[in-house]
């Protein structure tokens, strides 16, 4: 791939982050170019969700070193809402339930916030209903979910579909999907994967955080990264995912600790 010709969307450099004085990220480096799909894999607790939340701007994490560039912006200088308007999207591993707040209203307000930044016209309630009907088809979601409170009482799979619906509405440049596949049966997984494939374009990029090879059967990544202890240990092509499925994570951690000892 000729990287010099494609656009660099996300550049994470030597990123360190703490939560309550506890280091969680210990020097993450990652470059994502337009048109690419990256997969990040790794054991539970290796820091994958933390990385995604730090990129989205979660206030619980303190950045102790490094930079995150998104196109020409220093993301670390921006509030979460500003990052979202620029086109950063995080599909949550555990989407939050918000009782009393109508899903439809929430989707409309957020869509308009992003559209305003993109200099697209604001959608009023009627226009938005048409717009959202279109996008519902992508995730095969029942319109009844629009009239409920945000994620309240949704099953695991329904919450994940609602995340992909938000992604479809916001049309982000960079979508980070944190274990969007976990808890889905194979049909739901295909729907979600089809949605992601449909929304990926040559000008956008996707980061999939996942445990399972099966999502990567549906969505082909350009790169697979393995995280451990708050770092990316190894990067390779999609064949790495198959190897991980067969042999687990031990061998990679082994190799990398040998490397560190030799240094």
């Amino acid at each position: 791939m000729l990287k010099s010709e494609t656009k660099l969307i996300l550049e994470v450099c030597d990123l360190h982050a703490n939560v309550e004085d506890q280091p969680i990220l210990n020097g993450v480096n990652l470059q994502v170019y337009a048109g690419e799909i990256h997969a990040i894999m790794g054991r539970n607790g290796s820091g994958k969700s933390t990385l995604s939340k730090v990129i989205a701007g979660h206030p619980a994490y303190k950045i102790t070193g490094g930079t995150i560039k998104f196109e020409d912006n220093n993301l670390l200088d921006l509030d979460p809402e500003e990052r979202a308007r620029l086109g950063v999207f995080l599909g949550f591993q555990y989407p939050i339930e918000i009782p009393g707040v109508s899903n439809l209203e929430f989707l409309r307000v957020s869509t308009n916030a992003r559209r305003e930044y993109e200099k697209k016209e604001e959608l009023d309630t009627f226009e938005f209903e048409d717009f959202v009907q279109e996008k519902l088809k992508i995730v095969k979601m029942d319109p009844a979910f629009l009239n409920r409170s945000v994620n309240e009482g949704f099953s695991g799979g329904e919450k994940k579909r609602n995340e992909i619906l938000q992604m479809a509405l916001l049309e982000p440049k960079l979508a980070i999907l944190d274990e969007t596949d976990s808890g889905l049966d194979i049909d739901a997984l295909r729907v979600v994967a089809a949605g992601v494939n449909k929304l990926a374009t040559p000008n956008t990029a996707t980061i999939l955080i996942t445990h399972y090879q099966r999502l990567l059967n549906e969505i082909t990544p350009n790169y697979v990264h393995v995280m451990a202890n708050g770092k990316i240990l190894k990067t390779a092509g999609k064949e790495l995912a198959l190897q991980l499925e067969k042999s687990g994570y031990d061998w990679i951690e082994q190799i990398s600790s040998n490397k560190e000892e030799n240094q």
Binding site: A56, G57, H58, P59, A60, D79, P80, E81, R83, A84, R85, L90, F92, P95, I96, I98, P99, G100, V101, E105, F106, V109, S110, A113, R114, Y117, S149, V150, Q166, L170
Partner: protein, 411 residues
């Protein structure tokens, strides 16, 4: 402190009208009670300075009524709806829908004297003040199987004390949606007593909106007596009073009735809003579902005291009480206290209370979708209030209370 009460009693007009005997009772109790005292448990948290001010206000006069009330904010009456305005006329003349009628004076005498077993009136300051100075009564009876709806609007005149009283009787299997709206004006005080009798199998959906402004105060009691198989649902909202105290008291005469009490109080600036509820089960198989919510902003104070009494005869009672509160300022305060008195042994009684701040994870979720932090907080507050507001009778929508609440919180 007693002398201030006595002075006030002295200047009241002599007892008169259909409530003359009630006035005598009220005055007698107040003579003994004096002003509320800090050392009594029920008033411990109350800002008593603000209470003293109330008795300094002159009684509202009917000839002042027209020019001292701001009608601009009243929404129009819905097409086939009925609104009764409690002004300062002694008789509230209105066309009533079929199925609702005024009680005759004889009926009133019979019903009003059935003193409410759950109130010890000699010990009740708010009720006694109302009785002592009020000579106006709206007394209605609802009959038949068709569901009726009604709006009762209770305005206040500026810089006066505004007492009013409602007696509402629902006959067997009668159904009513009642929206009661109390509005405060500059430096006024409003004191409303509503007494409700629900006969066998009747159903009342009672919405109560209490909106004060500009240093106004509110004392309001709702005394509900439920016969078996009746259903009572209350959704009460208090907002904007310098001081307010709402006292719903439900008495399940013979048990086996359903009671649902939802309350929402939203305080800001230096306001103090309080709800003191009492549910008394007097027979078996009664049900209670209670949810009280408060939002306290700025330097305000919200109080909830929820008493539930389950005596020996109230076996198989099923009661739950939940108090969920939001502190949105460091200088604000919330006090919440369940007061369960359970003697019967075969009962289910659950209760719980939480006080929290706006949830960081909820805020982040909204912000991560491009919604700025103020708007996100507003959405969350709206959602929090909606859980109660959505249950009000439909007619309440016209009052647009949620927008007013959010506007005031964002000031």
């Amino acid at each position: 402190m007693k002398t201030e009460c006595l002075e006030w009693l002295e200047q009241l007009p002599s007892p008169d009208g259909v409530l003359a005997s009630e006035q005598l009772i009220g005055r007698e109790s107040l003579r003994n009670l004096g002003l509320p005292k800090k050392y009594s448990e029920a008033w411990r948290l109350t800002n008593l300075k603000r209470i003293e001010k109330i008795l300094k206000l002159p009684l509202a006069q009917s000839n002042q009524y027209e020019n001292s009330i701001d009608k601009n904010q009243w929404p129009e009456i819905p097409k086939d709806g009925v609104r009764i305005i409690l002004n300062n006329e002694t008789n509230y003349k209105t066309n009533l829908p079929n199925g609702i009628r005024f009680l005759s004076n004889d009926d009133i005498k019979e019903t009003i004297n059935l003193s409410h077993q759950s109130i010890d009136e000699t010990n009740d300051w708010g009720v006694s003040v109302n009785k002592a100075c009020n000579n106006k009564l709206l007394a209605l009876k609802v009959d038949g199987l068709e569901e009726q709806s009604l709006e009762i609007l209770i305005p206040s005149q500026k810089e006066t004390l505004n007492p009013s009283r409602i007696l509402l009787v629902l006959g067997k299997k009668a159904k009513l949606k009642l929206l009661q709206v109390i509005i405060g004006e500059g430096k006024s005080s409003n004191n409303n007593l509503i007494q409700i009798h629900l006969d066998e199998g009747s159903e009342l959906n009672h919405g109560l909106i209490c909106f004060g402004k500009n240093d106004s105060s509110l004392f309001t009691q709702a005394c509900i007596k439920q016969n078996i198989d009746s259903k009572y649902e209350l959704n009460a909202i208090q907002h904007g009073w310098s001081i307010s105290r709402f006292e719903p008291r439900v008495f399940q005469q013979n048990g086996k009735a359903k009671t649902k009490l939802n309350g929402l109080q939203i305080s800001s600036e230096k306001q103090q809003l309080a709800t003191h509820s009492l549910v008394n089960f007097n027979g078996p198989e009664g049900e209670l579902e209670q949810l009280q919510k408060s939002i306290a902003a700025d330097q305000s104070h919200c109080i909830f005291n929820g008493a539930v009494k389950v005596p020996k005869e109230a076996q198989k009672t099923n009661a739950s009480q939940l108090s969920r509160n939001l502190l949105i300022s460091k200088a604000a305060r919330i006090d919440t206290k369940p007061e369960l008195e359970i003697v019967a042994d075969d009962v289910k009684c659950a209760h719980g209370a939480t006080i929290s701040q706006l949830q960081e994870e909820e805020l982040f979720y909204l912000r991560s979708r491009g919604i700025d932090s103020n708007q996100a907080a507003t959405l969350l507050l709206k959602g929090y209030c909606q859980e109660i507001i959505n249950n009000l009778p439909v007619a309440a929508e016209r009052w647009q209370i949620l927008n007013q609440i959010i506007e005031n919180l964002n000031k």
